[in-house]
């Protein structure tokens, strides 16, 4: 059972966010970065599968230099090796560009399963998994809350809207996006941490993956990032019931113009 887990490093949700001067991203200088929450569950699910079925868990990320922290953390928790997609050409990809880069990196490895988190906490799109599955012509299931490996296939419980669930079976290889809460992610043990430095982090560039500028050109561009302007305001009317009613009627007639 060879499993690849995609991990993304995202700003910690407890950070204080400031929008940068060109209004297309947040200032990163003061942020603390961490592994995306649902990705941790995907990693744990892979490590549990490895514990019961054997094989290898490979972790893979795409990001700036600091993103190697996320790989090291996963190696300390028990992943066997890491693949780091690192190139300035990978800065600010859209989901399709990232999916193409991951597809190029993972195509030749014969993984039985690719797991990723449900969505990244920074961009919140949830598109990478399905897009990557399409690139690799793999079946995919999103919002996975339970898995059971069988021979050559996997049973899955998928969360639907409104408290509904669906039970599916997918042929392997397949790609799943994992919902937070599916398991209890482990802490890195001290022995795992000490073993981490002997594990490989292989860095690959756009050129290594024969990716062209055309492959990576975003089709979706973030135009402007801003804190929503305050458009509504709650007013408290004070006074006796009669006074309040008079004020309210006046406002409905003249301010809201609904009377």
């Amino acid at each position: 059972m060879n499993i690849c887990v995609l991990l993304k490093q995202v700003p910690d949700q407890g950070s204080v966010f400031t929008i940068d001067s060109d209004e297309t991203w947040v200032q990163e200088d003061n942020l603390v970065f961490t592994t995306n929450e649902s990705d941790n569950y995907a990693l744990e699910e892979a490590l549990l599968m490895k514990a019961s079925k054997g094989g290898e868990v490979v972790v893979c990320t795409l990001g700036p230099d600091r993103a190697s922290q996320t790989l090291k953390d996963a190696l300390a928790k028990g992943a066997d090796r890491a693949l780091f997609l690192r190139d300035d050409a990978f800065d600010r990809l859209d989901s399709l560009g990232a999916a193409r880069a991951f597809a190029a990196a993972l195509r030749d490895d014969s993984f039985d399963l690719i797991l990723c988190g449900l969505q990244a906490d920074d961009t919140g799109e949830g598109q990478l998994g399905p897009m990557l599955a399409e690139q690799l012509s793999l079946p995919h299931v999103t919002l996975v809350v339970q898995t059971e490996l069988l021979d050559g296939c996997i049973k899955i419980k998928q969360e639907l809207e409104g408290g509904w669930f669906r039970h599916l079976e997918a042929d392997l290889p397949a790609l799943l996006t994992i919902q937070s809460g599916i398991n209890k992610p482990r802490y890195a043990s001290l022995k795992g941490i000490m073993a981490m430095k002997r594990k490989e982090i292989k860095q690959v560039s756009a050129a290594d993956l024969s990716l062209t500028t055309g492959d990576l050109t975003p089709h979706q561009i973030l135009k402007r990032l801003y804190v929503p302007a305050k458009t509504k305001e709650t007013q408290f009317l004070e006074g006796s019931p009669d006074e309040v009613v008079a004020q309210l009627v006046e406002k409905l007639a003249n301010e809201a113009k609904v009377l």
Binding site: E28, D29, N30, V32, D65, R66, Q69, K72, D73, A76, Y187, A188, S189, L190, K191, I193, M194, M196, K197
Partner: protein
Amino acid sequence: MNMKVRQMGMTVRGLDYANISILLTDEEILVQHTTRDFVEAEVLPVITKHHRQATFPHELVSEMAALGFLGSNLPAQYGCANLNSVAHGLLCQELERGDSAVRSFVSVQTSLAMYPIYALGSEEQKRKWLPAMARGEVIGCFGLTEPDVGSNPQAIKTRATKTERGWRLSGTKMWITNGSIADIAIVWAKDDGDIIRGFIIEKGWDGFSTTDMHGKFSLRASVTSELIFDEVHVPEQSQLPKAEGLAGPLQCLNQARYGIAWGSIGAAMACYEAALKYAGERIQFGKPIASFQLTQEKLVWMLSEITKAQLLALQLGRLKDRELLRHQLVSLAKRNNVWMARECARLSREIHGANGIIDDYPVMRHLMNLESVYTYEGTHEMHTLIMGEDITGISAFE
């Protein structure tokens, strides 16, 4: 520039005003992360209850063992994680940010029970005990202090008399952390020639009994016991062969004191963090109490002392790994860092006002714990005298 460096590398979780992260390796930082996450998720939710009921959190032991917290700085061949001194220090810091009792449990197991076997024991003793102790299956304690003997351990009265088949041990030990929950006790006693020897005494041996000490206002989540030895027969192979004289126990205490120099920073951090949060939220005279200069001065004092203590502890760790650490420097750090933590706890208690004395907040618990930490492992005063002797060449205590 600094920010750029900071961003590239890993950073410790929580308080790091002077960006000490850039002086740490990835492994050291990951150890801090694991311990912090463990303490947040497993220790903090249960510690107030244990403190209130004066019970030891047994439920934490197996997971701490599984994560490698027990004997973490000992070699892999004995089933340990082989951490360097700084990583081990960060482990102590984070555990004591939870509670001094939890750190004390780990310190005693690691530095006062496993370390003596590792440093002073035979290969057979090491193989017999260390892996099981790392797994948390065998708990240890360390018996040096006696009812009449504290700061001057040279004066211990517990006797080990040579017999044909080994030794006969008689005497009483007091204030022994983990005493009644321990499967083995490292016990120090004088032989017929008045030389201090070390022994591995096993629970259940004839003539060996323990009673717990109750009514403690400090380290309430830690077990503290009296050990009574009434003509206990000790087989030859349970003597630590390399322990001879006071240097034996002192060598172990030095390991534990090093851990306390880090651990106390954790307690101080917990008190500072609580004070900063409370000062921002508590409104008096129409504004947060953090806006008053007197409160700010207290917060600044705490943060300054914590930052200095962090740098001192880190330097100690680096020296220790290069085998350049003199025991007088361990005295300096134990003395300074526990003192500053105790002061931080008091200042934090003041900032919390009446809320400072209730266990909805962690402050009074740390304040009470630190009274023990100030006294055990060599009192504050004894460390002053050790340094005093070092710099003047004159011993003020002998």
